[in-house]
Amino acid sequence: MSKAEESADVAASVAEQPFIGQRLPRKEDRRFVIGKGRFTDDISVPGMLHAAFVRSPHAHARIRSIDTEAALKLPGVVAVITGRELAEFTSPFVCQQEGAAPMEMDALPVDKARFAGDPVACVVAVDRYVAEDGVDLVEVDWDALPPVLDMHHASDPGVPLVDEKIPSNLHTRETHRYGDIDGAFARADRVVKAEFRSQRLTHVPIETRSVVATWDEGREELTYYGAAQTAHILRTTLADRLGLSENQVRVVSPDVGGGFGLKLPLFREEFTVAAMAMRLKRPIKWVEDRLENLTASNHARDDAVSVEVAVLNDGTVLGVRANLWADFGAYAFYPPSYIINVIGWLLLGAYKIDNYEYTVNVAITNKCPAGTLRAPMAIVTWASDGMMHRVAEELGLDPFELRRKNMLSLDDQPYQSAPGYPYEALTLREGFDETLAKFDIDAFRREQADAAEKGRLIGVGIASVVEPTTYGSAWYKASGDDGSGHEAATVKLEPTGAINVTAGIVGTGQGYETSLAQVVADALGSSPANVDVRLGDTYIAPYGMGSRGSRGAAAGHGVAYLAAMDLREKVLGIGAHLLQRPAESLKIVNDEVVTRSDVGVSVPVREIARIAYNDPTSLPDGMLPGLEAHRTYDPPFMTFSNATHLCQVEVDAETGGVTIVKYRVHEDAGTLINPMIVDGQVHGGVSMGIGQVLLEETRYDEQGMNVSATLADYLMPTMDTVPMIEVEHLETPNPNTPQGIKGMAEGPVQGAVASVALAVQDAVARSGGRLEQLPFTPSRLLGVLRASRSG
């Protein structure tokens, strides 16, 4: 179908959508509430063994030898395997990045451990207790090396290489230029500088990484049970690295207790377990413990943005030059420049700035590898809005006026950002204006001044979020990264009229079983109760790109809707034949094909389904039996949604503690499938952003030991810190996606990082405090306050 036809189709069907847009309770919650969810650790297979890993106590150390003898003698230990042995029958993962050195990663390291917690051997035993005892008995002869821990000095002379196969610890340094940047700076009245730095974080899903791998020696096939946000890509990688054909591997992602971008790649522990299951021909389970999760799963962020902004005295922003840094840790599960480049092209945020240059620097260090954590580009909104506030401060202008003046509105769109991204149907200035209309900023400034008299520090922050949700294949091509943005779905109307749906997206708690049922029910004139959704099993689901970013709605639900619309056409075709009416005059309502005009002429879908399967000779001439549709869909280059966040805080001037007093979100994610689920995404994302600004931090000491390895030290946001969050929706449909869906999920993190950080900055600004490094812990904040008071 052409784009125009598709939108006409959309227009026709929008009128009859009883379920899209409804706050339906989540279908999947029943099984969770009655305790009948089925998570990986709930899976037990007869004869199953358990794995545990020997981990490096050093941040950087050569492995002279590994002695497994004592462990092998322990009753109950079945096998102990090292990286060297695994390398004999598995292939390494090779991470390619255009224009940079590829990085290789073995199943387990062979010669060297690269961070404290790096797994170097695996013990397989009859139960986890024995496996852990076995781990204690494995003796590794280490030769400790100096650790590389500071990204800014990772490539200084004399610093050892973390990965000896690449030329430098500074893996990536590249510059991107758009427009006339030199001219902009030459014309500027002034250049304003600002810095924004985020700490190292980790995902902390309630369900840690888990796997059960079974090898069926009869069929010669591997079944891998484990959370997999991208089940099919995982299958391809597993098959490739184990020397199997892709039809010998089945990946099943059962119920998942949170992914947050952690459960995407094939990790080394899971891979080792799969390889060992094959080798031992025995099922093996491994469930990561919390210590492993915090120290050795995947980290994220640890990035820094410094900008120079060329401005005119009237507040016109002529150009921006940015220098971006990221500490990627020890290995590459993703192309090292992938995330920091997203920060690069998104850094101008909501503002119309034509001349732009950014340089990315990515260092490889002796820390747990970094990867994608919900809103990998979270820093951009804080940086783009924050730099505008710095400009206003230096020019003595009102920051909100200045932002407004440079901010994109609907009138400016379609708009192409300096780095070439198409912005369409974004209500940035509109949301900003609406937020300010409901918050009397002048009254607040008076209240703030009064409070200051009494020694109280209060502040407000407003964030303008541009959230890239759905990456099309064209984006992957243009970025030089391997990959596709397409998605796939299959919809089946069974002989009794029951509907089964599957797609390539994989749920990790988003409520897909409900929202997919809503879109399919609408397309087929049925009800969500009649639609069952199964995801995450590569035997059932078609090959798609899984769940990452915020692609689930526009890509995953978009394609399911299109597939259901194809099926609808067939149903109507059969209905037309049976009712002797043109198909165009028919519609499906409440599982019945009825005419648009004449009341009383109808045929139940159930009857149509029966004929399609059990009486195909009654079908129209030439029509094939059965009722199923399979569709793929490649979304546009890039789809965006947007939001405005407002946060009001009070900072305790004596302790540095921050209390969030008010939190309000204006979200515009286009057409909403289930606004309740979207609200939930906002609540969760804002909580994560609050955690990033106020609490969470992965810390290493000078030896490279992780000193935040328990949940008493890695502080998660709880209901103590997270306030009531008010959410309002604008629904400006995207003209290029099915149903105008834009999707959302990461934006709330961006918005909270920015609005909370700006609010705290606003609260301390009066005392001259400047906050550039997250998190704003009480002790840090008090330090800033005291320094600025005495300074």
């Binding site: 000193v707 502080l715 709880t718």
Partner: protein, 265 residues
């Protein structure tokens, strides 16, 4: 965790005998401190002697003008006790601010003080009120009970039976807590009563300590203002991820003032 024997005696004497007979035995009350260390294999007792079956150790009573709390009384029971709320509301609030509901419904006063975690709340309450710890062998004033980091005056085989708190005229507790565990980063308990004026600080140093200068100032003038400008030296204070020694020293002043402000009769 490694294997161990389990005993549940019904009297204090029986418990003492079990301790004497098993060299590597450990008492267990709520288990909220002991079990995690056993799970991490940091502790490996050969036998566990569970105090939970000794009825005498449980409960709160008034005795000669003092409030007596049995060793296996949970934090929740102290927080919810009518007597404690009426006579020493600051102590009820202290107990009600320990950890979370799970912790408060398992953790006991005896376990807490025997463990003497530098960040625990009760040590500040006991020292701040001048309480007496009664064991199966003797009475120990709180000032002498808490000796050093995780170290108390308890001898081998000695069991905490109960704690006797004098009822103060005024008492208050303020703490700045770790957001996850709610252990004190700094907690200050202040009181004025039969044991004079007391200011006891937990969380800040390796062990609970009193601040003489603050006590003197409050003796002359019971008000938060009287504490202005009084500082504690930071050199012996704790430093960790969440708070430097300097920050803790600062918080001692802030929490002491807030404790005085919160102090009720």
């Amino acid at each position: 965790m490694y294997g161990f024997e389990y005993h549940k005696p019904s009297s204090l004497d029986e418990a003492a005998k079990l301790l004497a007979d098993n060299e590597e035995a450990s008492l267990i009350a709520g288990g909220h401190t002991l079990l995690p260390t056993m799970k991490q294999r940091l502790a490996a007792p050969s036998a566990i002697v569970d105090l939970g079956g000794i009825a005498d150790l449980k409960g709160i009573r008034e005795e000669g003008g003092n409030i007596v709390v049995g060793a296996i009384t949970t934090h929740d029971a102290v927080a919810g006790s009518d007597v404690v709320q009426a006579k020493i509301p600051a102590m009820a609030r202290l107990a009600g601010g320990i950890g979370d509901p799970q912790v408060r419904n398992r953790g006991t006063i005896g376990g807490s003080i025997a463990n003497n975690d530098p960040a625990a709340d009760y040590p500040a309450g006991l020292v701040g009120l001048g309480a007496i710890v009664r064991t199966n062998k003797r009475e120990i004033p709180a000032d002498d009970f808490f000796v050093a980091l995780f170290e108390t005056a308890l001898e081998e085989g000695e069991i905490v039976k109960e704690v006797s708190f004098p009822v103060p005229e005024k008492a208050g507790y303020a703490k700045f807590h770790n957001p996850a565990s709610r252990y004190a980063i700094v907690g200050v308990f202040v009181s004025r009563g039969p044991q004079g004026v007391r200011v006891a600080v937990t969380g800040a140093g390796p062990c609970v300590f009193r601040v003489k200068e603050m006590e003197d100032a409050l003796s002359g003038n019971w008000s938060a203002d009287a504490l202005k400008g009084i500082t504690v030296p930071e050199d012996e204070l704790n430093a960790d991820l969440h708070a430097s020694a300097e920050y803790r020293a600062h918080l001692v002043g802030v929490m002491a003032r807030r404790a005085v402000q919160a102090a009720t009769a």
